[in-house]
C-alpha cells in the first residue's frame, strides 16, 4: 500500500462525467482521489513521486491511451493495482497483456467497484 493509511486512487479518464461518477463512488470509502485526463498525465503523476494504491484506467484517451499507459507503468516497475475500465470489449487481452490486474466493461457500477476493492483488500 502507499505510505499513508488512506487508500490512494488515481482516476485516469478523459471524460468529465466518468471521473465525477467514480469520484462520488470512491468518496464513500473516504479514499484519497486524484484525477487525470490521459495516460501521459497518469505517468507524470508517478514520475513526480506520487504513490497510489489503485489506478482506474480508461482506454481511449488523447495523448496516450490506457493500454500504453499501463505498459509504461509496468515498464517503470510500478506495482500499483491497475483496473482497466472501458467500453471496448475487444481490448481485454491487450490490457491484461500490458499488465492490468483487472478488466471491466463500462459503465462501472458501485457494486462492481465494491467487489474490485474487496478483491484487492482495500476495504479492511
Amino acid at each position: 500500500m502507499a505510505s499513508s493509511q488512506v487508500v490512494k486512487v488515481l482516476i485516469v479518464d478523459d471524460d468529465n462525467i466518468t471521473r465525477r461518477i467514480y469520484r462520488t463512488m470512491l468518496f464513500r470509502f473516504c479514499f484519497e482521489i486524484t484525477e487525470v485526463e490521459d495516460g501521459n498525465n497518469a505517468i507524470q503523476q508517478f514520475l513526480d513521486g506520487n504513490e497510489y494504491d489503485l489506478v482506474l484506467m480508461d482506454k481511449h484517451m488523447p495523448n496516450m491511451d490506457g493500454v500504453e499507459a499501463t505498459r509504461t507503468l509496468r515498464g517503470m516497475g510500478i506495482p500499483v493495482k491497475i483496473v482497466a475500465i472501458t467500453d471496448d470489449a475487444n481490448s481485454k487481452d491487450t490490457f491484461l497483456g500490458a499488465g492490468a490486474d483487472k478488466f471491466l466493461l463500462k459503465p462501472l457500477t458501485f457494486p462492481m467497484l465494491t467487489d474490485i476493492l474487496k478483491s484487492f483488500n482495500f476495504l479492511n
Binding site: 478523459d14 471524460d15 468529465n16 462525467i17 466518468t18 465525477r20 461518477i21 462520488t24 463512488m25 468518496f27 464513500r28 481511449h60 467500453d87 463500462k106 459503465p107 457500477t109 458501485f110
Partner: protein
C-alpha cells in the same frame, strides 16, 4: 403549492423516460449514488453531460460542415459522446451514436463513396441531435418539477 401533485408529475415523467427508452439502468446507478453528501448529484451529472455533449456535438457539426472526410476523427468525437451517454444512461442517444460510428467504419471510403458515407453520417447525426434535444427538454422538466416539489422526493425504481 400542491407538492404531492408535483411529485406525482415528476414520478410520471421519470417513468416515461425509462418506458420510452430514453434512459436505461445506468440512470438508476446515478440515483443510487445521490445521498446527503451529494444531494444534487444526479442533476449535477446530467448538467455536466449536456454541457460536454453540446461541445462535442459542436465539434462534430463543424467537421461535417467542412465535409471533412476524416472518418477516424469523427469516430473519435463520437466515441467520446457515446461514452458520456453510457455514463448517464442516455440509451437512445447511445444507440444513435453507435449507428453513426458504424457509418464511419465503412471500409470503402474512396472517391465518391466517401460522399455517400458523409451523407449517411450527417443524417445519423441529425438523429443524435434530435434525441439530445428531446432528452434535454424532458430532463430539464423533470428536475424543475423535483425542485418545485421540494427535497422529500426520493428516487425509486418503477415497478416492473
Amino acid at each position: 403549492m400542491d407538492y404531492v401533485n408535483l411529485r406525482r408529475q415528476a414520478a410520471s415523467l421519470r417513468k416515461g423516460l425509462f418506458d420510452q427508452g430514453y434512459l436505461d439502468e445506468q440512470f438508476y446507478q446515478l440515483e443510487d449514488l445521490q445521498d446527503d453528501a451529494s444531494p444534487n448529484f444526479v442533476e449535477e451529472v446530467v448538467t455536466l453531460f449536456f454541457r460536454d455533449s453540446a461541445r462535442l456535438m459542436a465539434n462534430i457539426d463543424q467537421a461535417l460542415d467542412k465535409c471533412v472526410k476524416d472518418f477516424n476523427k469523427l469516430d473519435v468525437y463520437m466515441q467520446q459522446l457515446k461514452g458520456s451517454c453510457t455514463s448517464i444512461g442516455a440509451s437512445r442517444m447511445k444507440t444513435e451514436c453507435t449507428a453513426f460510428r458504424e457509418c464511419c467504419r465503412d471500409e470503402n471510403i474512396e472517391g465518391s463513396h466517401s460522399l455517400s458515407i458523409l451523407n449517411l453520417c450527417m443524417r445519423s447525426f441529425q438523429k443524435i441531435k434530435r434525441e439530445h434535444s428531446v432528452l434535454r427538454q424532458k430532463l430539464e422538466s423533470y428536475f424543475q418539477l423535483l425542485r418545485q416539489a421540494g427535497p422529500v422526493e426520493c428516487a425509486t425504481r418503477p415497478n416492473k
